[in-house]
Symmetry: C2
Subunit: 210 residues, 2 copies
Amino acid sequence: MRAMIPYKKQHAKSRLSPALSLEEREHFVELMLRDVVGSLQVAGVSDIDVLTTPKNGVPSDLDVNILFSEHELNNAINGYLDTVSEPVLIIMADMPLVTPGHIKEMKSIEKDLIIVPGKGGGTNVLFIRNPDSFYVKYYDSSFLNHCRIAEEMGQSVHVYDSFLLSTDIDEPHDLVEIMLHGHGLSKSYIDSKFGMKDNGKSRVKLSLCQ
Amino acid sequence: MRAMIPYKKQHAKSRLSPALSLEEREHFVELMLRDVVGSLQVAGVSDIDVLTTPKNGVPSDLDVNILFSEHELNNAINGYLDTVSEPVLIIMADMPLVTPGHIKEMKSIEKDLIIVPGKGGGTNVLFIRNPDSFYVKYYDSSFLNHCRIAEEMGQSVHVYDSFLLSTDIDEPHDLVEIMLHGHGLSKSYIDSKFGMKDNGKSRVKLSLCQ
């Protein structure tokens, strides 16, 4: 099997702007990418492709293959799927809560397609055993899209239920989850910038350390 | 083992008021309670205690023990834990995405304490094998509280990673998760009231059916 990570650094994560400056966000998305790559490698996935554009500067010390595409996300990924002939795990770069255990567990599930839902009908991870019998359709209700496409293509499906993998990092309150449940470079970075404050209710809020 | 469900119906779920009237919310929380009880029963848990107050009217056709307490949540639950001498699973009533599979899997994990984190540091389910060696502290960072208390009391801990169990139903956007991933009475009710609309981004929004 191999893994593929779509990656965008430039002007990334604008919804985090209440918490992090543009420069900080661009640094942080690189740290998240490093954590995702690290978890894949510890889980024994050595063939890792990062799908990006030349402007997005994947760090040269990462042991990954860098693939360029100027197409929008779905066309870029579907073009990629046309080129691979082994099982491929597509994981977004903004998922630093992924652990080697998640990857190993997904590898062990004997279904054609494993979908990890994100909040609000998103798709956070896809493990596609037969890339010639599947295509992706991200954005609007992508979870339902991917279930439907699997059915059309006769692919069996497992929905993988994980809070940590449902947590992509889009908004300031997601950073709290890194502080609570994270590891690696992204956790060190966020811990260095923020604390947590209780608000007398059930959810913890972010507070500035400095 | 037994299960315990804290239950409040009266004026419940005020944060759902943009989507549901008071009367609808009170009806809906009862349906969610029925779904949680149903999943426990299918998983083979027959001793189910619902901890509530006389004003909150637990439906009489449910096969549960109804316990009354006028104390606030933590004192009520800790008072309850003083009275039980077998493993107890504490699950909130607003978790209709729980399945019998979750309950069976938690029963099979050989740790003293199983914590299911909710978003923002909450605790959505606790499975306490030794109720005389644990106490609860809900609200502010309860996930961290419960990890700390387990350490103090020498109890081994498993953090159970589930998107479905991390999803307690508090706000209108949580209703989308019931439509996407739910089952039972709560799903039928929400499906009858709302549809989903795409907004061209990654997350699906609620739309009124009527």
